[in-house]
């Protein structure tokens, strides 16, 4: 008798997903899979559009990280024009990008994960949510909302609104920043710094209560990939691709991101529609090429952060890895996220002090000069690639988007399996166990609108393979 347990929908993540667990005769978890259920079709319907429309169109891939798509798309556009954008435009884009890191990470930590961390994984689901947090810890909830608001305000002040701002364009940005708007951001900074310090304290307190979780929530060796500055520092907007293994060896020295095809392959599995990107030189077999992206990976691959407060936290973070090796526990995505908020706030403070920031020269103009453009940015959830092929009029012939959540696909599947094997053994399924498995997914903060920009719902095809490789059971749900 085999049994399948389905968690549907997976809640408090962005988008719709479900998880299937496959149990063997004795009730032990044999396998676990993470499914996404939606269809949108961006790559295809963008064909025939102009590359200059793409920031506006691809922002609609995602309502949480529209800014990441704006950045990657505008940068692909810069490459098609073949221009270097004005320095002020680059700083303004970075400012917006850091604003987005703050708002998205605050959403992940306070709104989506804090209810588990502060109220307990096994606590009553009726109140284990942002509303429950508001009634039990009103100050913390309010602070979380305020911190996210800070990031959203940076985006809104620059782009006119916080979701889908029509602001970045190929060649730069549409509008300069007025001095009074700059000062408005500056005035809100001290409160944001206070809140992130508080969040760091809260999380460190939660470490003691979650030692078992830290051990079993996606704790395994893998590769890590992220952008670094030419000097090896933490980077979110530009820079070079670096890949590191869990021993701390740099297996891919800093590669110009437009050459990403040389190191990233995409595998498909018959049981899933979401592609499985992998590190090409290591191959897809046996999870050898599995890599993680996002805050944990970025902090692992960089040599230093580059701002004083974030560097101080980074030194503490590094102690979580064995003998100075990279941190392999996915639970620490939470910690990495908070360090990145701190870093983003420090960088915002730094750039606001730059007298160039309010210059009027924010756009370089050119016609189509290159037939291919690749744009890369670090989205809150990891490295994002936009690749456009155009004709002489700038009309798109081919579009490829590789999004962060897809790149964590292998690691998320493995995380679900690890948690299920730790907590689901013979006994029944408590609400707490279901929520643990969900929390394992939540640490990656997956963005399923992004993941499903291309592909969609499939009837579930479940196969149970016995120890000798023959098919024990098979189910097809349509």
């Amino acid at each position: 008798m085999t049994k399948t347990i389905t968690i549907d929908p997976v809640t408090r993540i962005e988008g719709h997903a479900k998880i299937s667990l496959y149990l063997d005769d004795s009730g032990h978890v044999n396998d676990a899979r993470f499914h996404v259920t939606e269809f949108r079709g961006f790559e295809k319907f963008c064909e025939g559009r102009s590359f200059s429309e793409m920031p506006g169109i691809t922002a609609r891939v995602c309502g949480i990280c529209p800014v990441s798509h704006l950045m990657a798309s505008a940068k692909a556009g810069d490459a098609i024009l073949g221009v270097r954008i004005p320095p002020t435009a680059k700083k303004l884009r970075q400012l917006m990008n850091w604003g987005q890191i703050v708002q998205s990470h605050a959403l992940s930590f306070f709104h989506l994960s804090a209810p588990d961390l502060l109220l307990g994984m096994e606590s009553d689901p009726v109140t284990r949510n942002i509303m429950g947090l508001i009634s039990k810890y009103p100050d913390i909830a309010r602070n979380g909302i305020r911190l996210r608001q800070f990031g959203q305000d940076v985006i809104r002040i620059l782009g006119g609104r916080s979701v889908h701002p029509a602001w970045t364009v190929p060649g730069g940005v549409r509008d300069p920043l007025a001095a009074e708007d700059r000062d408005q951001i500056k005035r809100a900074l001290p409160e944001a710094f206070d809140i992130v310090e508080l969040a760091l304290d809260l999380l460190k307190d939660a470490f003691d209560d979650n030692t078992a979780e830290i051990e079993s929530y996606g704790n395994f060796p893998s590769l890590f990939m992220g952008l670094v500055t030419p000097e090896g520092g933490l980077e979110h907007y530009d820079g070079l691709l670096r890949v590191m293994d869990s021993e701390g060896r740099t297996v891919q020295e800093d590669l110009p991101p437009e050459r990403f095809r040389e190191i990233i392959g995409e595998a498909v599995e018959p049981w899933s529609y979401l592609k499985f990107p992998y590190y090409k030189p290591y191959g897809y077999e046996d999870y050898k090429g599995m890599y993680r992206v996002g805050p944990l990976a970025r902090l692992n691959v960089c040599d230093f952060a580059g701002t004083p407060l974030a560097d101080r936290e980074l030194r503490q973070f590094r102690r979580l890895g064995e003998h100075g090796k990279p941190v392999t526990g996915s639970f620490h995505y939470h910690y990495a996220r908070l360090i990145e908020i701190l870093f983003a706030l420090e960088k915002i403070e730094e750039v606001l002090a730059d007298p160039d920031l309010t210059s009027d020269h924010v756009r370089s103009n050119a016609d189509v000069n290159q037939m291919v453009g690749v744009g890369v940015s670090e989205a809150p959830r990891g490295t994002l690639f936009h690749e456009y092929h155009v004709n002489e009029d700038g009309i798109l012939q081919k579009v490829n988007l590789i999004i962060a959540t897809g790149q964590n696909n292998m690691a998320m599947n493995r995380t679900v399996k690890q948690i299920a094997q730790t907590y689901v053994n013979g006994g029944g399924l408590s609400e707490g166990i279901l929520n643990r498995i969900e929390h394992g997914i939540r640490v990656f903060d997956p963005c399923l609108s992004c993941s499903t920009h291309a592909v969609g719902q499939m009837p579930l095809h479940i196969q149970l393979i016995g120890p000798n490789g023959h098919l024990v059971d098979e189910r097809i749900r349509d």
Binding site: P9, V10, T11, R12, I13, E14, G15, H16, E38, F39, R40, G41, E43, K44, F45, S50, E53, G56, I57, R60, V61, C62, G63, I64, P66, H111, P125, R128, N129, I130, M131, I134, A141, R142, I145, R146, R148, Q149, Q152, G160, R161, V163, H164, A166, W167, D175, V268, P270, Y273, N435, S449, T452, A454, V455, G456, Q457, M458, P459, H461, D478
Partner: protein
């Protein structure tokens, strides 16, 4: 039961139970999540809202999903899969008010651009095993499938408008959402007309207000996030753009974006395309 020691139980003061809070549900179909996130974005209002309604179903915010019925259901996204076809019927059955929020729910959204193509090509392009993908040929608005009580436009929706609609339902008045065009907001804002002053094609005259004339204020043409305004004359506007030197392709693309599948925009784009052929 015999009360041996003679102490009487305290009298419970007679207090009528407070009326149950209205139950709010938030449902997602194919979309980017940006509209439902404006509920979490409503910052301070969120705290007040938590007080006034019971959030009975909101998977983005809570693991708890309560069974219906719901007093108010906010529905984001368009209908793109056979599963969604069934789910929207269930949402309708369980809900007193169904409010469609955003361009996906009210017009099919950006993914409705696939309605002009063969959907099999889409699936084949991105997926090695197309047999596993189950999808409808079209992405369609909620009102194509069930009766919708109110449609709140926008890509994304305007947070203040959402709060107005919720407030209106809670206190029993009509929502105050304008049906006039972006031009009215643009004039009110004092922005120069980009079409007249710069010769930039702008959908402002045919697009419903709601964004505060965001794009014209940045000196770019409106691209129709809030869908067609009341009685829009797209044909005349299209002719005007052509006379200004825009190519027919450009004009068709302008009509076909986030609200491209809304009747007025769709018919105008299709007509222009036919005239070309």
């Amino acid at each position: 039961m015999n009360n041996a020691n003679g102490i009487l139980p305290p009298i419970r003061p007679h207090k009528p139970a407070p009326p149950p809070k209205p139950r709010l549900a938030v449902f997602k179909f194919a979309s980017c999540d940006g509209c439902q996130l404006s509920i979490l974005d409503a910052e301070d209002e969120l705290l007040a809202l938590a007080d006034k309604v019971e959030i009975a179903y909101f998977v983005e915010a809570s693991r708890r999903t309560l069974a219906g019925p719901y007093d108010i259901s906010l529905v984001e996204g368009s209908i793109t899969t056979p599963e969604e076809l069934e789910r929207i019927q269930e949402v309708r059955r369980q809900s007193n008010y169904v409010i469609a929020i955003g361009a996906c729910a009210t017009a099919g959204g950006i993914q409705a651009l696939r309605n002009w193509h063969n959907v099999d090509d889409f699936v084949r392009k991105v997926y090695a095993h197309p047999d596993y993908i189950q999808t409808l040929d079209t992405a369609t608005p909620i009102s194509d499938h069930v009766q919708v009580d109110f449609e709140l436009r926008g890509c994304p929706i305007n947070k203040a408008q959402l709060l107005d609609v919720l407030t209106a339902l809670l206190i029993g008045r009509q929502p105050r959402v304008p049906s006039y065009s972006v031009c009215v907001e643009c004039k009110r804002r004092g922005a120069p007309c980009v079409t007249v002053a710069q010769g930039v094609p702008c959908l402002g005259p045919v697009t419903q207000a709601g964004c505060g004339a965001l794009c014209p204020a940045y000196r770019r043409g409106c691209y129709g996030c809030f869908g067609p305004a009341e009685a829009p004359n797209l044909e005349a506007l299209g002719q005007r753009f052509l006379a200004m030197g825009a190519s027919p392709d450009e004009v068709v693309r302008l009509f076909r974006t986030f609200n491209g599948y809304a009747d007025a925009f769709r018919l105008a784009g299709d007509k222009l395309e036919e005239m070309q052929q």
